[in-house]
């Protein structure tokens, strides 16, 4: 598996034409997770592309995200402060997840469980901050059908995109905790602990989607 990428492009045709398992050395659960993530990529991309479409077609000006999402600290507005903190929180969780995967493959169960729980914790913190963000914006008058800053499609895009992402994070936290619990109970002891890498793929993907949301929705 590991050094296979170096084996050259000819392996593509050999693997796909081999009339047996295509993704050699990849546990089936991991292959299915990758395929699920590919389909999820299409869903998120469709959301982002529809956001692009309504933003280009809006004749009203688009609200300025760095104003809408600013927080007042020490009497001065800091643009995108909460969003930046959420971004760093999610990267932190990605790092702890990467460590959990590494310890899983070293068969260090205790450390793997600990780092999975840490990842779930940072994920929960992220969802908490998002709940705060939504509450603040709704109270300031951002609704799916309008807002005071400009084009009314802004709210619809915002709630749809961040809501769908937040749902993924919430589901991820539950998924992580279930895996940590089952790992602790010894359910995976006869395997290579690839389940940790599988849940890790999902979690890194959630962070990956945020990279694009951050760039296109908050910064653009």
């Amino acid at each position: 598996m590991a050094q296979a990428a170096a084996a050259g492009h000819a392996t593509i045709f050999e693997d796909w034409g081999s009339d047996v398992t295509t993704f050699k050395g990849v546990p089936w659960g991991k292959a299915m997770m990758w395929i699920f993530l590919l389909s999820d990529t299409f869903i998120f991309s469709c959301f982002l592309i529809s956001y692009m479409t309504v933003r280009i077609t809006a004749a009203e000006p688009w609200p300025n995200a760095s104003e809408v999402f600013s927080l007042t600290m020490f009497g001065a507005p800091v643009p995108l402060l909460l969003i930046a903190i959420m971004t760093f929180d999610l990267i932190t969780s990605s790092g702890t997840m990467a460590l959990a995967v590494n310890y899983g493959y070293r068969r260090d169960k205790k450390k793997a469980i600990r780092f999975i729980c840490a990842t779930a914790f940072f994920g929960a913190v992220f969802v908490g901050m998002q709940a705060f963000e939504w509450t603040k914006l709704i109270s300031e008058g951002v609704k799916p059908w309008g807002n005071e800053w400009g084009a009314e499609q802004f709210g619809a895009c915002f709630f749809m995109i961040t809501g769908f992402h937040g749902m993924h994070v919430s589901a991820g936290v539950i998924y992580l905790l279930i895996v940590a619990w089952r790992l602790h109970k010894g359910v995976y002891d006869k395997t290579n602990y690839e389940i940790v890498e599988i849940v890790g793929l999902y979690w890194h993907f959630v962070d990956l989607v945020w990279v694009f949301i951050f760039a296109f929705f908050y910064l653009w």
């Binding site: 598996m1 590991a2 296979a4 990428a5 492009h9 392996t11 593509i12 693997d15 295509t22 993704f23 050699k24 050395g25 990849v26 546990p27 292959a31 990758w34 590919l38 990529t41 299409f42 991309s45 592309i49 692009m52 479409t53 280009i56 077609t57 004749a59 009203e60 000006p61 760095s66 104003e67 643009p79 995108l80 971004t87 760093f88 990267i91 790092g95 997840m97 990467a98 590494n102 493959y105 070293r106 300031e140 005071e148 800053w149 400009g150 290579n192 602990y193 890498e197 890790g200 890194h204 993907f205 962070d207 990956l208 990279v211 694009f212 951050f214 760039a215 908050y218 910064l219 653009w220």
Partner: protein
């Protein structure tokens, strides 16, 4: 390598990438303090792609997978780029221009319909 062994990489690799992701994210955040323009847009996209690339290649281990899997995952999203291009073309060249030319919508309206709203600063144009 068989699936018995799995991915083995030194921890230092993850710490390096982790730190790098923090640096790139910080760079990404600071583009928000720049003037809007091509430089800012280029930087936003560059930081975005660098970050996404490191997450997928290193944290998701795609770099060490076989080409059969890498291509199965990276080629299909090309269709999304086509969709994006088509939608951008239609949005601007047809929908937005129709709204402005035929329905007489102001292409550069004032930002604040409600002048009493303290949250709203009129845009200069």
């Amino acid at each position: 390598m068989s699936s018995e062994v799995g991915q083995q990489h030194p921890l230092s690799l993850y710490f390096w990438i982790w730190g790098l992701l923090f640096v790139v994210s910080a760079g990404s955040y600071f583009t928000d303090f720049m003037e809007a323009g091509y430089l800012r847009w280029t930087l936003i996209l560059t930081f975005m792609l660098v970050k996404a690339g490191y997450i997928v290649a290193i944290f998701m281990h795609l770099k060490w997978e076989r080409w059969a899997l890498i291509y199965a995952l990276l080629l299909p999203p090309g269709a999304l780029l086509v969709l994006m291009g088509l939608m951008a073309w239609e949005s601007w060249d047809y929908t937005w221009l129709s709204r402005v030319v035929y329905f007489g919508e102001d292409p550069y309206p004032l930002r604040c319909p409600d002048a009493a709203n303290p949250n709203c600063v009129p845009m200069a144009h």
